[in-house]
Subunit: 300 residues, 4 copies
Amino acid sequence: MQLGMVGLGKMGGNMAGRLRDKGHEVVGFDFDPELRDVASLSELAQRLEAPRTIWLMVPAGAPTLQTITSLTEVLEPGDLVIEGGNSHYVDDRRRADELREMGIGYVDAGVSGGVWGREEGYGIMVGGDPRDVTRAEPVFSALTPDDGGYVHAGGVGAGHFVKMVHNGIEYGMMQAFAEGYELMAASDIVDDVPGTFDSWREGTVVRSWLLDLLVRALREDPELEAIRGYAQDSGEGRWTVQAAVDHAVPAPVISAALFARFASRQEDSPAMKVVAALRNQFGGHAVTKAADDPARTPRS
Amino acid sequence: MQLGMVGLGKMGGNMAGRLRDKGHEVVGFDFDPELRDVASLSELAQRLEAPRTIWLMVPAGAPTLQTITSLTEVLEPGDLVIEGGNSHYVDDRRRADELREMGIGYVDAGVSGGVWGREEGYGIMVGGDPRDVTRAEPVFSALTPDDGGYVHAGGVGAGHFVKMVHNGIEYGMMQAFAEGYELMAASDIVDDVPGTFDSWREGTVVRSWLLDLLVRALREDPELEAIRGYAQDSGEGRWTVQAAVDHAVPAPVISAALFARFASRQEDSPAMKVVAALRNQFGGHAVTKAADDPARTPRS
Amino acid sequence: MQLGMVGLGKMGGNMAGRLRDKGHEVVGFDFDPELRDVASLSELAQRLEAPRTIWLMVPAGAPTLQTITSLTEVLEPGDLVIEGGNSHYVDDRRRADELREMGIGYVDAGVSGGVWGREEGYGIMVGGDPRDVTRAEPVFSALTPDDGGYVHAGGVGAGHFVKMVHNGIEYGMMQAFAEGYELMAASDIVDDVPGTFDSWREGTVVRSWLLDLLVRALREDPELEAIRGYAQDSGEGRWTVQAAVDHAVPAPVISAALFARFASRQEDSPAMKVVAALRNQFGGHAVTKAADDPARTPRS
Amino acid sequence: MQLGMVGLGKMGGNMAGRLRDKGHEVVGFDFDPELRDVASLSELAQRLEAPRTIWLMVPAGAPTLQTITSLTEVLEPGDLVIEGGNSHYVDDRRRADELREMGIGYVDAGVSGGVWGREEGYGIMVGGDPRDVTRAEPVFSALTPDDGGYVHAGGVGAGHFVKMVHNGIEYGMMQAFAEGYELMAASDIVDDVPGTFDSWREGTVVRSWLLDLLVRALREDPELEAIRGYAQDSGEGRWTVQAAVDHAVPAPVISAALFARFASRQEDSPAMKVVAALRNQFGGHAVTKAADDPARTPRS
């Protein structure tokens, strides 16, 4: 089928390539003139036959919001917008309501797989009205692997909600491997840490794609000497914890993984300054006598 | 090669079966007369040609300790004991020292894979002196999958140490999936939780054997109605946390997963009684006036 | 000074009583005719001299929002609203903007101390424009203890923000005592758990008001037999974790305390069902052979 | 009464001073000739009338063990050793058994209060046989505050066990304050963080000695600029987590506080290197095609 793709960066560009390989017609727009087929969103709208299907693959937040606003000026009733970026599911719901009033459909699609997806297919999780979703199924089918990787999880927002949860789980799994690595590296008992991870790829309970990637990383750099222990977080981990709190769901592992990333980015921890200051106070330096103390002595 | 197998339960029996399928000669002993080839450890020793190799697959703790003690009475210098159960790595080291004085070798082998291992092969992690380990390699090779699943991780204890860490990681991964499941189930936005997990088996970052197993479980029972939220822990999770503490390694995810299991087994939580009691005290029921209070009023 | 008090429940009623004891004139409104001095908000506005000061002490959320909306119909430019309930600091900021357009001032006041405050004074944390705050200082002064308990923490929202953080800290402290209690109770080594807590009230690092309350609770019920391990959370704990996530602040202790409360209220844990189901799958019951398996066998 | 004090450092010296102030006769030994009354343990034994009472206040571990061994050579049946340092409760039990065979009593005493104890009294938690404990009560009474601070918690080991738990609770409380501080400092909404903590000293739920100390620290250095976020741990926190794991007691808060200290001491986190390496692998740099990959591509 025919598809407009807005955003032709690493993800959008690879997805457009995979779709073309599978026989779909993709007309792409990007701010970078090198990457795009059309020079503007209005030209994009003109090039596509109505009813149009437009896939958004731009950064979350303001860029996505602005692109949707601009699109509403060039789209017509009956057209369909697929938000494939990392929007928050609550934003999806509000936007879908706004577009529905203009007669424009809205589907949210969470996309997993990173740079590997071009070859292996992406995991695609979709939320939206069944009619809208059905209409775009040829696209979803082309993007996913041959034998799976696709779910229509629920109404608008459900796609990004489950993608968010997927990433929260991913945080927990990564941190679990990370803690295991550190413990083996810290002990003096394990002579071959990379070989141990490699052996786990067959026959064990922890075999997984993340383990495969970790083995790759350890082959390139067995002690990870070239890598700093500094980890960004991309938003979905935070949203997962906040959604868990909203729903009164205990999420100790996902939150611990998120907090470990926060801490990894701090040069000095304000919290641990407090702990150090308190240790300092009761441990021996604060020998000012109670009577002289401008701070009233406790319980005196 | 020829191997004595002590303990022919679910794990030991399956392993003996796989070894025989691969052409090895296994002489088995178990307390259950139905399962065994020989009626005693001394008969086992007589049936095996020296130097003997004996694989132990009995419950951890006292049973393993007693079996080793009994074995020392029937084995000779040059024989080799492979402890394939779930011993603690510190116990391995002590036992290896004791056996070495008798001229008997000791190798510890962590085994992963559960009931699936008979067909697919086990993950085997080995610790021990290189000569002892080399001698038993035909056995390890037959037990593991064709293209991996084996590591000689270090000296005595290293096999059980990395198996322990493996299980700690496994705890964290399981809890990550569990939290994600609960959040999706608690929300009113996801219509198809089992289908979402199924879709994740292809193309996503979280694809893994545990995910495959979870999909199987959800096919059998989509809302897990027949299962109580009650989870045992098998020892390795505890040891992982304790080893992390010993080595000053932060392990927030693995410990959170362990504590969630502890809590799942409590009918009522003593800790949460304290929280409830405190809320009760400051929240409004404890209106005894300060002056009447046998407990001295704070800071009055 | 003269003050209107809206909401005369346990907190509002006690605060009105304390203010009157300290010589202030309080005109109170409540939906309960037994408690109130005036029968409506408009009568309240008539009874107070302009410029009026109105203290709100009604449940957070919709009741507070509706009361403010109703108040705007009877108040005049120059009047001042003090929101003393448990509003979220972001809501404070939005409301203050709306009231400012009508010429009405808005101050948010976090109140701590529970039922003990009537006698001992409340902790009061205030956010707002300095002129508005200064105007209400006689009220704050009467509500707080003689020698402290008051802070003007910042602009609108700051009062409820620091009250929220106070409660987050409180959650962590309560859980710390709770874990310590459970560990002592679980061991067979401590003969006198209540006496141990009692001894800690003097000379130790953990001495605190919460400890005093715990000692009271243990005097009434040394093994907390009459109390279920079931703990509500009041909103501020959740907001603290969400604010920490928003600000990329690691909050492992406060979040762990919150999650423990969530878990305490579950009859059965969906997450732990998943853990149990996974253990079930790899542990021995799922012996369907790979070839027969409708779920594709992992990595076969 | 008459007491031998071994170890006259900051803690032992202050305690000896307090005991003398209260009328007790203290004969002190230390390796530092400046501090001691007698030059050797045997001289100490000679100077004390039988039956002797000796209080040990030396560093935990080897120094305590060696001192006890040396003492057994100069003490006689009927004498009593009080171990006031930070021994592990399991070590106490083993030592008490050994001393009992020589007719020497053993009492373990956990001591809290730091440098403030000299003036205000120490919290003292005691484990041991009732006859031994009773005999030393005049000493305990002199060391503790006038109206509390003392508990005989159980048999040998119980004193150090509850002191260990006390410190675990202390870890959790400190971390709770620390997280609250960091959140307030990270927000742009709180103008007066030190003043907020100060206000909490009256009327609030979190009022406590640790809060008093934090207020002191913030008066000296309102933004804690002179302090690095680097916190040691002293052993008891680790033991508390390990004891919790041994007893299947969930301890998420105490363990989180401990792990935060571990992390604070790392220049670079090996675990977070793994997280960063994994993000690197799936995020876009690892574009080696599957077919060229020496690491078998997952599920290809």
